[in-house]
């Protein structure tokens, strides 16, 4: 029994974006949120690794480099659980639209590459409801590296997977690490039926596809909050 394979019965809708760093998924989600708001829907945004509850611990562990693949994984699951309970489930129960930048699939890809058991991490996230729309932004490594380095001077330690000792410099390590994550995502896309989007296209072209998918998904959606007001 797995929550991610069963449709949820909540009145709201859950949209999630997935992809490696530099895939442009966050940009696409922001634009999708603007679109939904312009259409008059109430939206809620949440992102990976952002709960105050665990942030301090993760930060401390990263700084002291004492996080192991396993504690890295359980801490991210704690963060996810906290945000699910506090930021996602209430708006979903109230019939609103929740937008999540990364979801359980990020753990299935990243944590497994870091070394945790593939089946174990899926079972740990058993409590996660299945998204109504899960978009996977597929991008070649070279493109993502260029995007990231254009936006900021340096790659982050854990983002480049430096803790795995794959290469001595961050760019080489990033390429190997994200390449492995990309491979995991390929399996996840099929396993959980994520909708794949070619993220090497222009921002506008991708957003057009995203909005088309959102429109289709919203066919069956009745915004409860608005109904009760009217």
């Amino acid at each position: 029994m797995n929550g991610l394979t069963q449709p949820h019965n909540l009145p709201g809708r859950l949209i999630v974006v997935e992809g490696i760093d530099g895939s442009g998924k966050s940009t696409q989600l922001q634009l999708a949120m603007r679109y939904l708001q312009a259409r008059g829907f109430t939206t809620f945004f949440t992102e990976w690794n952002s709960a105050e509850l665990v942030k301090a611990v993760t930060k401390k562990g990263k700084k002291k480099q004492t996080l192991t693949p396993l504690t890295f994984s359980t801490l991210h699951a704690t963060d996810f659980a906290h945000r699910l309970v506090h930021n996602m489930l209430p708006p979903l129960k109230a019939g609103m639209i929740v937008l999540s930048d990364r979801y359980a699939y990020t753990a299935f890809a990243r944590d497994v590459v870091r070394g945790v058991d593939r089946e174990w991490v899926r079972r740990v996230y058993n409590f996660a409801p299945r998204p109504d729309l899960a978009l996977y932004f597929n991008v070649p490594i070279e493109v993502s590296v260029q995007r990231l380095l254009a936006g900021r001077a340096q790659l982050k330690e854990y983002e480049a997977g430096m803790d795995l000792h794959l290469a001595s410099d961050k760019v080489s390590s990033f390429k190997i690490f994200q390449g492995r994550i990309l491979k995991e995502y390929e399996g996840i896309v099929n396993e959980y039926g994520l909708t794949e989007i070619d993220a090497s296209q222009s921002i506008g072209a991708q957003q057009q596809i995203v909005r088309g998918l959102i429109d289709k998904m919203l066919d069956s959606y009745i915004p409860q909050a608005q109904e009760t007001v009217a």
Binding site: L53, K60, T66, L75, A81, V85, N126
Partner: protein, 236 residues
């Protein structure tokens, strides 16, 4: 040589190879005299010449303090509660328990996954999920359960002034006031321990007995077990 066995999911990067140490667990509700017994057992084992390291909940460097802090704020949901405890054990597993077992120590755990599972169930988490979550844990070689019924537990805990918010399961609204809640919550924990004790063949000891009598029983069982194991048998 023994291989280390895991509850259900060995992490692929966890080391393989022989394990010469032993994991001995003492379980039981608060107020059953667990910590005193563990300390006495440790001293006795050391006198016998065994290397002993002890461990217990919220003692991890990573999240031990964080859990204590979070419990002040009452903001823990059952999912985050269980996941924080899993992080605490994972950290201790990798930095303390596994290295000690591999180098031949006896690891004495003052409470283990069974406490976390019982508390999780009492808070409404699914048992299967809890087993999966703690699937990375090492299977203990011996589990002692110091059993105390609610009727014997209540006066002890009141006397010690330890009837607090969390030990009473007040976060779950088990009862109207802290006393009613304590009785209902601890009753549920005991029911879970009883069930696991039977299923996983814990050595159940009657915690109403005199502490010296309990310690004698612990030592006899531990001594016999260690003598029966080639790695830990003491000659002569």
């Amino acid at each position: 040589m023994n291989e280390i066995r895991y509850v259900s999911h060995k992490m692929p990067y966890f080391p393989d190879g022989p394990c010469t140490g032993k994991l001995i667990v003492i379980e039981g509700t608060d107020g059953c005299g667990r910590s005193t017994q563990a300390e006495m057992l440790r001293q006795w084992l050391e006198v016998q010449g065994y290397g002993v390291t002890d461990t217990g909940w919220t003692r991890s460097k990573l999240v031990g303090q964080a859990i204590t802090d979070l419990k002040q704020g009452h903001s823990l949901h059952r999912l985050t509660y269980c996941l924080m405890y899993a992080t605490d054990l994972a950290d201790r597993m990798e930095y303390q328990i596994l290295p000690a077992l591999r180098s031949g120590f006896i690891v004495l755990a003052d409470r283990y996954i069974y406490t976390a599972i019982a508390r999780g169930i009492a808070r409404g988490a699914g048992e299967e999920w809890l087993h999966d979550l703690f699937g990375f844990a090492v299977v203990p070689d011996l589990v002692f359960y110091l059993r105390l019924g609610v009727e014997d537990l209540v006066p002890r805990v009141i006397e010690a002034g330890k009837m607090n918010y969390w030990e009473s399961g007040m976060d779950m609204n088990y009862g109207d006031d802290i006393y009613d809640s304590f009785v209902a919550y601890q009753g549920e924990l005991i029911a879970q321990f009883d069930r696991m004790a039977q299923r996983d063949r814990f050595v159940t000891l009657d915690a109403r007995q005199d502490p010296d009598v309990i310690q004698k029983q612990l030592r006899r069982t531990v001594g016999q077990y260690l003598q029966s194991q080639p790695q830990t048998a003491v000659a002569g």
